[in-house]
Symmetry: C2
Subunit: 336 residues, 2 copies
Amino acid sequence: MTIKDIALCCGVSVSTVSRVLNNHPNVSEAAREKVLCAIREHHFVPNGSARDLVKLESDAVGLVLRGIANSFFAELIPTMDQLILDAGYTPILHQIRSDMDELDAAAKLARAKRLKGLILLGGSNDYTQEQIAALDVPFVLCTYTNSFGNLTPEQYSSVTIDDRRTGCAAAKLLLERGHRRIAILLDSIRDRSVSELRWMGFREALEEAGVPFDPALLAETVSYDMAGAYSRTKKLLADGEAFTALFAVSDAMAIAAIRALHEAGRSVPEDCSVVSVDGIALTRYTIPSLTTFVQPQKEIVCTAVQTLIDLIEGRGPNRQIVLNAVPRFGQSVRQL
Amino acid sequence: MTIKDIALCCGVSVSTVSRVLNNHPNVSEAAREKVLCAIREHHFVPNGSARDLVKLESDAVGLVLRGIANSFFAELIPTMDQLILDAGYTPILHQIRSDMDELDAAAKLARAKRLKGLILLGGSNDYTQEQIAALDVPFVLCTYTNSFGNLTPEQYSSVTIDDRRTGCAAAKLLLERGHRRIAILLDSIRDRSVSELRWMGFREALEEAGVPFDPALLAETVSYDMAGAYSRTKKLLADGEAFTALFAVSDAMAIAAIRALHEAGRSVPEDCSVVSVDGIALTRYTIPSLTTFVQPQKEIVCTAVQTLIDLIEGRGPNRQIVLNAVPRFGQSVRQL
DNA sequence: TTGAAAGCGCTAACAT
DNA sequence: ATGTTAGCGCTTTCAA
């Protein structure tokens, strides 16, 4: 069923059908009625590819998401979707597998679908000039800080919290409460992701406080999921190193860690304090509720979308926006 | 940048470029090399719309998801994606807002994108013949049971657990452990969704056991999120009706309820047992871990994809598959 | 108010 | 092995 079929069965030309489809003014009531009727009757929906092809301009912006199962990002999507719609654009969600290069995927997507812009959620922190150059549409990196110094501010836009500073603040929060032997649970200290940055901040804070860090308290997981965090914490406990607090780089990891601690007979916060980062909805409800550095979801979303729209509509230069993650005090931390 | 530009700058015709792009055999090494080089240099990516338009057949199957933030469904997506790819098709994720008609959205999507098939995740349980008729491609309803009897088995395929029976089993599990005053936390008892079905099973079990249900123990939330479940449980507690157990129709709701109980000074399972449905990854890690009726995610995904592929490739008729949700015993239930 | 026709970028049949 | 060309379904001038 094509526009031609509809035209045929209504005794009008394709242009008239097209006009009706696009709410153009110059169509007689009679013709419009006839066409609409045929459309309803045949459940006709115009072919998107043909439509997109013929119009040089698209109004689509891509949302490239790494890992749909990551609650923090999943929680951002609905609002982001809505804001993009409100701005008059069409959001296109695209999730990519964790083993793929998100910038490459995004660049291809942008070209293949003629996107107006891109928002990248949850990528790495270490992009090369070349990778960035491949993106020929405006884009905003969500949760990226140019911490490895490869890019210049003119080259990219970003909205993020300061991961390093957040790691630092988390450590300080624990130090201030008397903790000295603090374990850290993270993905990897050299994956150029938030893990590495939060780890750097964490180390800094300890150093500044003159507290030596025992490498035995560094717990790197293999995978970024709860199972990995759980078993790694088990191992940490089995190794027998003493610690009174744990910093987990994500809420999900913290929850898995708390379970491991619990099973080892160590209550949180009585026997071990736990602090993490993200502030997903769940953390208000767990027992104990989590003390976590909340990423300002609403602000992140608004700023990211606004920045992108400004770029698309030529209203502004690339911007790097760094927001504050503020601690929300739950029940997972205690004073020593 | 189009295929024509590449052709021009390589001194070949568009067909040669197209052949290279599609790995066709009859291209000389020299030409292929030249073209590939130009493609790399210009970061050329063929226009997807033009491609899709020209080929009558697409290999796309749509995954229509209601609510990306729902962990249960979010956890299914990656595997489903992979299985679809393995079968030689291209998955297209499409999330729709909760206030939209998912069948209508799916039908439009199928026509607009010439989809080969559809998998619908997390819709309602009450579709009309008309709605179904609008779908002109094979489809599988994931978590649908024709419980309101509008459809005939020839009309649709589905993969689901038996929600009614699961509600029944949940109630029985609690009854067997001596509970008589059991509260139930759900979305709505008349939204034609899983809530209503699980509620029906729950009532059945009570009746069968000769245990009268106190309407004061029916807790309907306004929204399907944790905040709603939390405040509704608070209200239930404030109302002062006694109950020794709670059945929550989803894990997320159970977790929120446990927090509300906890804040009211009632521990789980000591002062109140809690059982739920879904078996999301998280439930193994919460404290207490949840006793929950686990939906067999892997089986659901495999069966759904297999059924769809069979339908697409004309290998089978519509099938309705009902799987078992089996309880996984956590720490949230105790014997009275 | 309407229709005829060009062309969006690509693939594939056909011709060379 | 390579080029020429006819559409895919639609929107949009332009002419009537």
